[in-house]
Amino acid sequence: MDERDLFRQEVREWLETHCPVSQRQPIVREEQIWAGSQATFPSADAQAWFEAMRDRGWTAPSWPAEYGGGGLDPDQARILEQEMARLRCRPPLYDMGLWMLGPALLAYGSPEQKATHLPRIVRGEVRWAQGYSEPGAGSDLASLSTRALDAGDHFVVSGTKIWTTRADVADWIFCLVRTDADAPKREGISFLLIDMHSQGVSTRPIALISGESEFCQTFFDEVKVPKANLVGELNEGWAVAKELLKHERKLMATMESITEKVDVGLVELAKSRLAVTDQGRLANADLRARLAEHLMQADALSDLNELIYRGMKAGQLNPALPLTLKYIGTHEQQRKDELMLEILGADGLSMMSDTPELDRMVRNWAYNKAHTIAGGTSEIQLNIIARRGLGLPE
């Protein structure tokens, strides 16, 4: 048995011991454990699972141990991921800091920033929000106009951010702000960490088509931010933002695994509700063909992920490949949602159904429309694939 096998065995045993049976089921939105000063636990089991993972540093398995992370190398992190998937362990912690800010801080943060923020993220003590888009700056993010004026030892920030996920309960927000109004668009932007409890910060939830209000608009009215909270160099925030966007896109491509996991077996759902032939096939041949297409695409996507991982490890990865994942993953999710709605027929038309599972499926259908918009729209993704991936001219 080599080192990897030993590690796998150790992980397997540890998970068997520490992951309560109730935490080995597909996650539902109400039971996700979000970080922050206002964090709540849906059950004692959920709390125990979170705390066990936190204490092992496995809320952030591949971050360095000195910041409270698990210190795992890529192979080990993958083994942990696989073993968690095998046992169907729920993700122990949800937080934008964990997914996006952390990796960017590891690349660009000062030693003080890393020491201050990373351990708190790993432990789930702080909930982070992302302040990128503005009402006037969506796909054209670089045209953002929230200003940070130099006031000696601090900045004074004024402006507004939109689509900030749960800013109403967030503790901190990482923002792109304009620090040089005269420079070309991308060159006058800086990356700032702002305490949401500062004076002058306010939020307003936005009602969505899914009936939920995950996103907020966040307002900054002359908010004082210490200069120590600047990440990277002044006016060089675009580089940090791009590093972070990479992580966001990777995340969006696999959104299904970290957001709600309603395990809709589409085939079972269809066969339980629709006519089936004597041979046990769906009688609706057109639907049957489209289901097969979806299953093929989903299998192919998982093979593509595997191929990228192996190619990366062997040092022979075509850099254009990862650029495709967000576009493909989010569209496939939407295709699946549409098939689900079609199969449900009239039963899928209520957004306040008595059956919670049905209700959740339908809300997700509406909610997931955001996935081809957030984190760089599909159209922006195609621009990037065409220009950076295929080398077509600007």
Binding site: V267, A270, K271, G280, R281, L282, R288, A289, L291, A292, E293, L295, M296, Q297, D299, A300, L301, D303, L304, E306, L307, R310, G311, A314, Q316, A320, L321, T324, Y327, I328, E379, Q381, L382, N383, I385, A386, R387, G389, L390, G391, L392, P393, E394
Partner: protein, 365 residues
């Protein structure tokens, strides 16, 4: 799922050889020859000297041991250049049928000549649009065979045919029969891809030997799936070539004083096609890997690979013609050769609709 060092080396060696000996012009010349041969003997000899027909077989069976991954890598290169040779019909399909369905003695007698390329064989298994064990109308009567097959690859140029038939009890068996044996009538046909196919009728034709026994049903299914995966690899190569040629054209062609590649409408179409191409590629590599690791759901992998490569090859060939504008519809441009090859490949061994349906059944839809 990715090529190892040796497989990469093999691929590069074959690519260099094909660049020199079998570029697309070679297919043009072959297509336009009066006697319409199925392949150039010299090219085939060269491929045999490189060991291409023996690439996949394990070393203990006299092969080079590169596995399906290695043979697939060769087929991708073949697809990029539309190289005409009996690799698919003989080195892949016939070899697989003998290996999977033959007795130890038959394997020992027949396989070496196919591995070296000294003999060329082809498989005649299709009576309609694809192979279907239940509807075979070729029958075995003692050592004689009667029935018809269509779309037999390289039929008229092969030394012998491996023919699927049913015996009196309705069991699947495979007859090995010389192409010039009495009672065998081959009607050769050049299809739009410039390659040779044939309809074959057997009238009390004398079979030299039968591949028979319990292993034939599952063995033939496996051989067919293996060939389907290898054809998909060729189709992947063709699709990739089309994308690259089209990108290159868009980088250079100017209209309205700009490169037409700057137009977002074209960029997005190609970017979408590229995403679909990579999904098809991942499916092909996964299927080659399934062959090498003897996965038990090979049929699913094969049908997915064939469907996704078939769809993208067809789509990209249409897009390539369109984006090359007027030049795209001229015979002078190679794009048209890929367009035609894509249509033939789509029909070979079952089209996308057939494989999608088979996949649906395998997945319980």
């Amino acid at each position: 799922m990715i090529l190892n060092e040796e497989q990469l080396l093999l691929r590069n060696t074959v690519a260099d050889f094909l660049n020199k000996e079998a570029p697309i012009e070679a297919l043009r010349m072959l297509r336009d020859k009066a006697d319409a041969p199925a392949w150039e003997p010299e090219l085939w000899r060269g491929l045999c000297e490189l060991g291409a027909p023996a690439a996949a077989q394990p070393e203990e069976q006299g092969g080079l041991g590169f596995g399906a991954m290695g043979m697939g890598a060769i087929m991708i290169e073949v697809g990029r250049r539309l190289s005409a040779s009996p690799l698919l019909s003989s080195a892949i399909f016939a070899q697989a049928v003998i290996r999977e369905c033959g007795s130890a003695q038959q394997i020992g007698q027949l396989l070496p000549d196919l591995l070296s390329g000294d003999a060329v064989a082809t498989v005649a298994c299709q009576e309609g649009t694809h192979f279907e064990a239940e509807t075979i109308r070729c029958f075995r009567e003692n050592n004689q065979l009667t029935g018809c097959k269509n779309l037999v690859i390289d039929a008229a140029s092969a030394d012998y045919l491996l023919v699927t038939a049913l015996d009196r009890q309705g069991h699947l068996c495979i007859g090995r029969i010389a192409s010039d044996a009495p009672g065998v009538a081959i009607t050769p046909r050049q299809l739009m891809d410039g390659r040779q196919y044939g309809s074959v009728s057997f009238t009390n034709a004398t079979v030299e030997e039968w591949l028979e026994g319990e292993q034939v049903v599952s063995g033939f299914a496996r051989a067919l799936d293996e060939t389907t995966v290898m054809l998909s690899a060729e189709m992947l190569g063709g699709s990739r070539e089309l994308l690259e040629r089209t990108v290159a054209y868009l980088q250079e062609r100017e209209q309205f004083d700009v490169k037409i590649g700057t137009f977002q409408a074209l960029q997005h179409r190609l970017a979408q096609a590229y995403c679909q191409l990579e999904l098809a590629a991942a499916s092909v590599y996964a299927a080659m890997n399934a062959l090498d690791s003897a996965a038990d759901n090979l049929a699913q992998y094969a049908s997915r690979a064939k469907t996704l490569t078939g769809d993208i090859y067809q789509h990209l060939s249409n897009e390539a013609v369109q984006m090359h504008g007027g030049m795209g519809v001229t015979d002078e441009m190679d794009i048209g050769l890929f367009l035609k090859r894509s249509r033939v490949c789509n029909q070979l061994l079952g089209d996308s609709a057939y494989h999608k349906d088979r996949f649906a059944t395998l997945r319980g839809c």
